[in-house]
């Protein structure tokens, strides 16, 4: 049988708790089977908790009732400690994930380039400029889903034709 260490104060607390549990347990059947007496909700809840506890503890019934309670309290303390340790690990991991996320490139834009004729592309680029916007090569390539090299080539052609020019801000 495993050794259980508990100090005098802890033992006194266990005894107090056992006493109150035993007292509740003794009272419960009487209240449960009374048809005339309304049973308060909290009594039903306490009874439910007690039987849940008893059911969980049944596998430990080879121990004395006091030892059973001590073991449950000890296990509870260990679980609380483990819970604190896991929370600390979780916080560290969250921090690391945050750092990694901040290093990732911004949302990846995958665009499928359109395959249209050069004349069509030129007409679309000219139409885009007619809206009065200042555009970079990459803006045009993104907006019209065209190959960057084709956009540069057509823009140079439009510049030589005097259709577009370098913005004053450049």
């Amino acid at each position: 049988m495993p050794q259980i260490e508990i100090d005098a104060a802890g033992l006194a607390q266990v005894r107090r708790q056992m006493r109150s549990i035993e007292e509740i347990a003794q009272d419960l059947p009487e209240l449960t089977f009374s048809e005339t007496l309304p049973i308060p909700t909290y009594v039903i809840e306490v009874k439910s908790h007690f039987f849940n506890w008893a059911s969980g503890a049944s596998q430990l019934l080879t121990y004395s009732p006091y030892e059973t309670v001590v073991r449950i309290m000890q296990e509870n303390a260990e679980l609380r400690l483990e819970n604190r340790e896991l929370a600390a690990i979780s916080a560290k991991l969250e921090k690391r994930v945050g750092i990694l996320e901040s290093k990732l490139p911004e949302e990846e834009n995958v665009i499928v380039l359109r395959e249209i004729s050069r004349d069509e592309a030129k007409a679309e680029i000219a139409k885009l400029f007619s809206q009065g916007e200042t555009l970079y090569y990459s803006d045009i390539a993104m907006k019209l889903r065209l190959d960057l090299e084709l956009v540069v080539d057509i823009c140079n052609e439009l510049m030589s034709e005097g259709e577009i020019s370098i913005a004053d801000s450049a």
Binding site: G132, T134, S138, N156, E163, S165, S169
Partner: protein
Amino acid sequence: MRSALPIVHRNAGDALRGEKIAVKAEKIRMGSVQAGSSRHQIQTLTLEDKVFCIIEIPLVASRK
């Protein structure tokens, strides 16, 4: 006055310098982040296979 036709550099060792450069390539490999404040970090990357780069210029429709 800038030339309407871009000068294309094809020789190994040629460099490009600009405020904004548009690129395309089959492979883009992220490189290191050089030390600096978070606002002024300099990043490096390598472009491989069918690489095309152009120094961006703002363009507008000509006033007629």
